[in-house]
């Protein structure tokens, strides 16, 4: 198990390989479909983003509302492929890591290799457990989007798996191949 602390620099993520299990601690940001669309619109208008994305991590999640006395509701990953249209541009501007589930397209893989990035998988459907890793949560942008608003999270020991590493290796291909070879 590799322990990682944000912000994630290129040096840190170059050590990671597809299939590695990691725990992530520190500050990360949430964002999914509607928030990504707005981030790109801000860039098109040459306006600043709501947070400096250099070496940052975006978790593709839209949590359930938290109950009184709890920091975060259920919050597992959403399907990352819907962010493929937006991710390469953010990666080119310094975004270092993405947390989600599901296939990424070639453009995203290429950006990860070119600029030095990493795509982590969180287990889809394990939303209740993910919330126990989240210590602080604050909405910092697009509050009107409800579950899709951008949240700044402080996480501790979030369990993740490296799905696409900075060399472009993809666990979804490797894991399946390994299983079939073993048979």
């Amino acid at each position: 198990m590799i322990e990682l602390q944000t912000p994630l620099t290129v040096e840190k993520i170059r050590q990671l390989h597809a299939g590695d299990e990691v725990t992530l601690s520190g500050t990360i940001y949430t964002g999914r479909d509607a928030a990504h669309k707005r981030l790109i619109a801000l860039l098109d208008e040459r306006k600043p983003l709501p947070f400096d994305i250099q070496d940052q991590t975006i978790f593709y999640v839209g949590p359930t509302p938290n109950r009184p006395g709890s920091v975060f509701g259920s919050g597992g990953p959403t399907t990352s492929g819907r962010m493929d249209a937006y991710s390469p541009r953010l990666i080119s501007l310094g975004l270092r890591a993405m947390i989600g589930k599901g296939y990424r397209n070639e453009d995203v893989k290429q950006a990860i290799m070119t600029y030095g990035g990493v795509y982590f998988g969180a287990i889809g459907g394990a939303g209740a457990m993910m919330s126990s890793c989240i210590e602080e949560c604050e909405i910092i942008a697009f509050e009107d989007l409800g579950p899709e608003a951008i949240r700044k999270l402080k996480v501790k020991n979030m369990p993740l798996v490296v799905v696409i590493d900075s060399q472009g290796n993809d666990l979804y291909e490797i894991g399946r191949k390994n299983y079939l070879n073993k048979k």
Partner: protein, 281 residues
């Protein structure tokens, strides 16, 4: 003639929404346990273990198993002897969903206009409601909130009769491979065969919600269910798509007569959180 009060319908649907999203169906839980014991890959085993622990935690804390608490699908089976009083049935269903998603701290995931505005309705309405009239005086409600990570992976195809059983198998395998890790495997799969363009999707949904381990009454379809499930679990996609034996927990088939010119097939993909909860009033 039996009377059913709208206020009781509201209360029932509210409770079903909350319970369905927090308590994993027993058949799914048992299937995860069985598959966990059979799985030998380290990451695959660990993933299944996490899913079981997650289900335990959700049940104990009455919090959603998964953050995508879905759109609310409500299936009403109403006896023709029933008289509904105290308001509109449709409005009672919507109110039950509204209250359930509010009081259960469930995520509101519905946008009003699908293409242009996409503004969240903030109460998870409208629900998707299906009504079936039957004889007698029963009033049965099934609530099945479904997430869209897997819903987006479902597909339909109007096959030709000459495509035969191989055509059906090829299409099912294509859908599963397209879905891969996106659908949060292990999946629960429903296949509809026959009917029409719209009917076949209903059959697939019905099959998806049928208990794990049950079979189609026709032995030929029952054999096809087993064969397809085995083939799917030989793809190696595995839990979370990280590689392994467990790509699907079940595959059920539902059928209906069809036209001489057609053979519609639909595949409804669900993640392991195959939520459905029922009640009789």
């Amino acid at each position: 003639m039996r009377e059913i009060q709208c206020k009781d319908i509201i209360e029932t649907i509210k409770t079903l929404c909350i319970e369905a999203t927090s308590i994993l169906p027993q058949d799914v839980y048992e299937s995860l346990q069985t598959r966990y014991e059979q799985e030998d890959g380290l990451l695959a085993k660990k993933t299944l273990e996490v899913l079981m622990k997650n289900a335990d935690l959700a049940k104990n804390k009455m919090m959603p198993i998964c953050q995508d608490t879905g759109m609310a699908f409500v299936y009403l089976t109403i006896g023709q002897e029933i008289h509904i009083t105290g308001g509109s049935l449709k409005e009672a269903v919507e109110e039950g969903v509204r209250q359930g998603y509010q009081e259960g701290y469930l995520r509101k995931s519905v946008v009003d206009d699908p293409l242009f505005d996409r503004v969240n309705t903030k109460d998870n309405t409208p629900a998707i409601i299906y009504y079936e009239m039957v004889e007698g005086d029963t009033f049965h409600v099934k609530v099945a909130p479904k997430g869209f990570g897997s819903e987006n992976m479902s597909q339909i195809k109007m096959l030709k009769p000459s495509d035969g059983i191989e055509g059906v198998k090829d299409f099912v395998m294509k859908v599963v491979n397209d879905a891969g890790p996106n659908a949060c495997p292990p999946m629960v799969i429903g296949v509809g065969i026959g009917g029409s363009f719209d009917k076949v999707t209903m059959l697939a949904k019905k099959a998806m919600m049928r208990d794990i381990g049950t079979h189609h009454p026709d032995a030929r379809y029952a054999a096809l269910e087993d064969e397809l499930l085995t083939k799917i679990n030989e793809t190696g996609i595995g839990p979370a798509g990280y590689g392994g034996k467990t790509t699907a927990l079940s595959l059920n088939i539902e059928t209906f007569p069809t036209h001489i010119a057609g053979m519609p097939v639909a595949v409804s993909i669900c993640c392991h959180v195959a939520r459905h909860k029922e009640a009789d009033l």
